[in-house]
C-alpha cells in the first residue's frame, strides 16, 4: 500500500516538474507540440487516402518511414555504450550520463514503433501482430523477431531507470542485485535489436544490395557512432541549461567510443566499395545507382556524397586528439557524424535496395510533403518524450525532487 502512495506522489511530482519551468522550456515544449500537431494532421490525411499520399510505389515500397526506423534502432541500441561501463564495469565517469542515455533509448524506441505504425497499410488490424490474440509468424519472419526485440528492449530500458529513480526518490540506495541482471541482459539485447533489424534486410535474397554478410556488423558500427554522438550533444545541452553537472571527463570518454566506432564504420565502407566496384557484377547495380547514377537517374548522388564527405571529415576530426578535446569542434563533429549516418541508413541503404527493381527498371523515390510532415511529427514526439523523461530524472538525481519534500 505504501508503495502505491509513493508512486502516486512520484507521478504528481513528475507532472508538476514537467509542467513548470523556464520560459525557454515552455517555448521548446510548445514548439514540439506544434510540430506534433502538424504531423498528426499529415497522418490523418494519410489515413484517409492511403499510402498513395507518400512517395512510395510498387517499385520503391519502403521509404522515409522505414529509413528513420532503421536509423533509430541504432540510436536506441547505443545506450549500451553507457550502460555497460556504468553498471557492469563500475566506471563512475559514465554514471551521471547513464540515465540520460537510457532516456534517449526509450524515446528512440517509441519513435521506432511510431514509424513502423505510420508505414502500415492497415493500422486498424495491427492487433494481428500481438502474440496471443493475433497470429505471429515466429520464428520464420524477421519482422516478428523485431517486434519482440524492440518491445523487450523498451521494457528493459523503462524498468531499470524507473527502479533506480523510484529508490532515489525515496532517498534510498538502489540495490545492485536488482538492476545488475537487467543491465546485463540489456547489453546483449542492445546488440540483438540491431542485428535483428539488419537481418530483416540481410535475409532477402531478392535484394542483392542488402543480401551481404557485412550489413549487420556495419549497422552496429554506425549505431555506436551515431547514438553516442547524439548523447554527447544532448549532454552538452543539458549541462548548459540545467543544474545537472556532467564532467568533461565523461564527454571525453564517450567521444572516444564515437571515434573508434566511426573509424570501424569507415573501414567497412571501404570494404563494401571495394567489393562492389573492383569486380562489378549484376548485383552491383544498386551501388552504381547510389554512387554514380544509372541511365541518367541520379536522385541519390547529392545525398550519398554529402554523407560520405561529412562522415570522413568527422572521423578525421575525431581521430585527432587535439581537435577532439576541443569541445566546440567535438560537438560540431558529432553533429556532422549524426547527420551523415542518418543519410547513410536512409537514402544510402533502404532506398537503393529497391533500385533498380526486380527486372532492372529504375523508378526513383522522393518523399512527399505529407511523408516529411509525419516524419517531423514523430521526431518531435521523440524529443517531447525525452524532455519529459530527462527533466524528471535530473530533478530526482540532483535531489531536488524527493518523497515528502515539497519545498521546490
Amino acid at each position: 500500500m505504501k508503495r502505491f502512495k509513493i508512486l502516486k506522489s512520484l507521478v504528481i511530482d513528475s507532472i508538476r516538474t514537467t509542467t513548470h519551468g523556464s520560459k525557454k522550456y515552455h517555448l521548446w515544449m510548445a514548439f514540439l507540440t506544434f510540430v506534433m500537431l502538424i504531423g498528426m494532421y499529415c497522418y490523418s490525411i494519410q489515413l484517409k487516402h492511403g499510402l498513395s499520399v507518400t512517395g512510395m510505389s510498387d517499385s520503391v515500397s519502403w521509404g522515409l518511414y522505414i529509413s528513420n526506423f532503421t536509423f533509430l534502432v541504432g540510436v536506441a541500441a547505443a545506450a549500451v555504450i553507457l550502460v555497460m561501463p556504468t553498471y557492469i564495469l563500475k566506471d563512475i565517469d559514465f554514471k551521471q550520463a547513464v540515465l540520460i542515455g537510457e532516456g534517449i533509448a526509450v524515446s528512440a524506441l517509441i519513435m521506432c514503433l511510431a514509424f513502423v505504425v505510420a508505414d502500415m497499410g492497415g493500422p486498424s488490424v495491427l492487433w494481428h501482430m500481438i502474440p496471443g490474440i493475433g497470429v505471429f509468424n515466429f520464428p520464420n519472419s524477421m519482422l516478428a523477431w523485431d517486434v519482440i526485440a524492440l518491445n523487450g528492449y523498451l521494457f528493459i530500458n523503462i524498468s531499470i531507470p524507473f527502479y533506480i529513480l523510484f529508490k532515489l526518490y525515496q532517498g534510498k540506495k538502489p540495490n545492485p542485485k536488482v538492476y545488475i541482471p537487467g543491465a546485463l541482459i540489456s547489453v546483449f539485447w542492445a546488440v540483438g535489436i540491431h542485428l535483428v533489424t539488419a537481418f530483416l534486410y540481410q535475409g532477402l535474397q531478392a535484394r542483392p544490395f542488402w543480401n551481404n554478410a557485412l550489413l549487420g556488423p556495419r549497422f552496429l558500427a554506425s549505431a555506436f557512432a551515431a547514438g553516442p554522438a547524439l548523447i554527447i550533444i544532448v549532454l552538452a545541452i543539458i549541462r548548459t541549461y540545467t543544474a545537472f553537472k556532467i564532467e568533461d571527463k565523461t564527454l571525453k570518454k564517450i567521444a572516444l567510443v564515437v571515434t573508434v566506432a566511426a573509424q570501424i564504420n569507415l573501414i567497412m565502407l571501404v570494404s563494401e566499395l571495394f567489393k562492389e566496384f573492383y569486380a562489378p557484377t549484376h548485383h552491383s547495380e544498386s551501388a552504381y545507382y547510389l554512387f554514380f547514377g544509372l541511365h541518367g537517374k541520379t536522385a541519390l548522388l547529392p545525398w550519398i556524397w554529402s554523407a560520405i564527405s561529412m562522415n570522413v571529415l568527422a572521423t578525421i576530426v575525431l581521430s585527432i586528439h587535439k581537435l577532439r578535446n576541443n569541445f566546440k569542434v567535438l560537438f560540431f563533429a558529432c553533429a556532422l557524424l549524426f547527420i551523415a549516418i542518418w543519410i547513410e541508413k536512409g537514402f544510402g541503404l533502404i532506398v537503393p535496395g529497391f533500385i533498380p527493381g526486380s527486372y532492372g527498371k529504375i523508378v526513383e523515390y522522393t518523399p512527399t510533403g505529407i511523408e516529411i510532415g509525419v516524419t517531423l511529427g514523430i521526431w518531435a514526439m521523440g524529443a517531447f518524450v525525452f524532455t519529459i523523461l530527462a527533466k524528471t530524472a535530473i530533478k530526482i538525481e540532483t535531489s531536488e525532487m524527493r518523497y515528502k519534500k515539497l519545498d521546490y
Binding site: H49, G50, L51, S52, M56, S57, D58, S61, W62, V116, D119, M120, G121, G122, S124, V125, L126, H128, M129, G132, I133, G134, V135, F136, N137, N140, S141, M142, L143, A144, V147, L200, Y201, G203, L204, Q205, A206, R207, E285, G353, F354, P356, G357, S358, Y359, G360, K361
Partner: protein
Amino acid sequence: MENKKWFSLNLSNRKKQSIISCGCEKTTENCNHNLVKDTEQKDGFEQVFDVKMNRRTAFKKLTASLLIGAGAVSTSCSVITDDDTKEKAQIDWEEQFKGNYKLMTDDEKNATVNRLVRSYELRTGKTISMSSKNAEEDVLFGYAFNISKCKGYMDCVSACVEENNQDRNSQMQYIRIHEMEDGKGLNFAEADDNYYHEVPAKGHFYLGTQCFHCDNPPCVEVCPVKATWKEDDGIVVIDYDWCVGCRYCMAACPYDGRRFNWSNPEIPEEEVNKEQHYLGNRLRKKGVMEKCTFCIQRSRKGKNPACVDACPTGARIFGNLLDPNSTIRWVLENKKVFRLKEDLGTEPKFWYFMD
C-alpha cells in the same frame, strides 16, 4: 536427394499425407492440438485460444459482451437506425475481429463468405457469389509460357484486370509483358514493359511475368502475421483481411509478383466480376497486398486462368503438374524449359520455353 541443403521442387514422389489439418502445420503425430474442434463453432480471437475450455468460453463471453456493447452504442447514438444499418454494423464488427482464414474451419470459412456476400448486398443491392472452395487432393498447379508464340498483344493483361477486379484508378496489373530486342538475349534491364505501339514490333520478342507461385516462396516466410501462404494445390494466396500492409513480402519477392493497394481500389459497379473466391478476386480495400492467384476462382473449378483463355496465340499453358497426361507435363518433359533467377532457390512453378 535427401542430403540437399537447399529446397527443391519434387514432382515425382510427392509424399502423400492424409493429414487431418488442424492449422498448426504439423503432422498428426506431432500435433498436440486437440482435433475434435470441429464440433465447436470457433471464430475470431478464439482460433488461438483453442487449448483450454474455460479460457475459450471466457473469451467467447467477452466477445459477446463487446458485441452487445457495440450494438448498444450504435443504436443509442442514432435513434433512426433501421435494421439494415444495424446488420451492417454487426457484420463490420464481426469482420473486423475475425480470425486468419488459413486457420479457419470450413464452417467458419462459410460464415465469413456469407457475411461478405450479405455486406455487398446491403451496400449495393446486388448479389455476388463467393466461393471458399479448398484445394483438391493430388493437384499441384503449374504454368508454362511459350516465348516463341507471345506477340505482345496484352489480351492476357486486360482479361486479368477484368477477371480479378483490380483497381482501375491506379491501373494495377498483375502481368507484365516485357518487350525485348532480338539478339540481346533475356535482357530485362533494356526491355520495355510499358509500350504503346503496334505489336509485334519488328526485331522484338515478348516475355510475360507475374507471380510465379514459387514452391519455396520467400514472401510467405517473411510475413509477420501469416497473412500469405502456399495452399495445398501450390497456389500462393493472401488473406486480404488479415494482411497488415507492412509490405515486407513485396521487398522479399525477387519477381515483382506482388502489388499493394496504395489507395482505395475503385471499380465501376457494372464492371465488378461477381464470380468470386475468398482468396482470389473478391474486392480488396486500401492498404493490403494482392497478386495473381492463378485465378483461384476459376482454376479450382477446373477452368483455366483468364490469361490462358484470353491469349490469342496459345503462348500460355496451365495445368496440373501431378497429372502425367496434362499438357503442362508434356511441355516440361519435351521442351527445353527454364525459369527465372533459378539460383535463388525459390523453385517457381512457372516455366519458359521456346519452339
